[in-house]
Symmetry: C2
Subunit: 235 residues, 2 copies
């Protein structure tokens, strides 16, 4: 029997979280390897020269780097007949060609734009800086900009959640996992203004209640305790 | 007869360029609409609320936003039988499942990491800043960092070009178009240290000679003349 695939990730890395959600929805058992992104360890760079997470290694199989490559690889999996029936997982990129394009547009929004304008900066200021040997502290002007950016992104997410059943349309998709992954990290860091965005809250409650989300809600990182509502399903 | 699809782009936007290359390889005639990324025009934001390029609009069909969504949409095209024979274009994501994962890893490298660490900063400093009403000038310390980053990326590109026929393996792929799009912009701005990276130069000469590249080599933007070697096939 072969060992489960190994996912090198950081507990609060949104891209890693989106892949953990996708793999959990597919019922794929994985072994989690923790990596600290601010350390730039040589062993990790040997695995992925881009120095980015997540990295998925199959026993005797390929090593896949990055959420884009991994998500499309998972989506291309051919289901064995026994799993293709009642328990078939939701496709990551559902719908027709146009539907899939809409899912990918939104994945790009969260893993690209939201990451650059919110998550990356927030993690750097509130977590990585404090973990470095220099023990830096968050820059208030950067945090102000990030909080302004966040509201713009939540307004757009609320607009989508209000107009559609799931973010990309009628079906749950990888766009929901990508969005929820980023928002879950913002929430862990106590920066989610839930009351200002009720449609986002209702959508997030639904996805947070899925069994695939459980492992994420149990995550804790040294030096940063989660916000009071982080693991609460009825927040 | 329907009009050709319209691509909203900026001449020196690397992501737009990668899509122009892909569409040209597929023999898809398009109408180019020029958009200045530093203007954030309302009409453009109505088309793509992310404010990012390129945007591809089909006559009576979908509007697709961003290089990720568009490239995968093009790759899913089912070729009509007449075109599926001798003149069949190169697939954007060739190979088996692992091969495609490798192409996507590298697309992510160039459209993600290279873009963030080199192209985006270079365009902002050398072009957008000078076009804004404030007429800013490039920040020498940012340019220094960008040039250091660039060398790291070119070393890795050279390593790939040296070890493989094309960047992702035996076959030309969207990874080559993405990489060439970014490098062509760096070259336009006179920042390519060609002599230091001979393997990159040989690979780039091959892709630069393809008919799909011609339109890019004819591009000019107001305020920035291209480097002496930019359009030269034998540089």
């Amino acid at each position: 029997m072969s060992s489960p695939p190994r996912l090198t990730q950081y507990r609060l890395c949104p891209r890693s979280r989106s892949i953990r959600l996708a793999l959990a929805e597919y019922g794929t058992e994985i072994a989690l390897l923790d990596e600290n992104p601010w350390e730039w360890r040589k062993d990790f760079l040997a695995k992925n020269p881009a120095g980015e997470m997540p990295v998925l290694e199959y026993d005797g199989g390929p090593t896949l780097c990055g959420a884009y490559s991994i998500s499309e690889y998972i989506a291309e999996e051919v289901m064995p007949p026994s799993r293709a029936t009642a328990t078939r997982p939701p496709p990551l990129f559902p719908g027709n060609r146009e539907g899939r394009a809409e899912v990918r547009r939104l994945v790009d929004w969260y893993h690209g734009k939201f990451d650059r304008e919110v998550s990356r900066e927030l993690l750097n200021e509130k977590v990585y800086e404090t973990m470095r040997p220099t023990h830096g502290s968050p820059d208030p002007s950067i945090l102000r900009t990030v909080r302004t950016n966040l509201r713009y992104h939540l307004a757009y997410t609320g607009y989508l959640a209000d107009a559609r059943r799931w973010l990309a349309g009628d079906d749950l998709s990888f766009a929901d996992f990508a969005a929820a992954a980023h928002i879950s990290v913002v929430d862990y860091l106590g920066e989610m203004p839930w009351n200002e965005y009720p449609a986002v809250k209702i959508w997030y409650q639904r996805i947070k209640s899925r069994p695939s989300f459980r492992a994420l809600l149990a995550d804790r990182v040294p030096g940063s305790a989660p916000s009071a509502v982080y693991s609460d399903l009825d927040f």
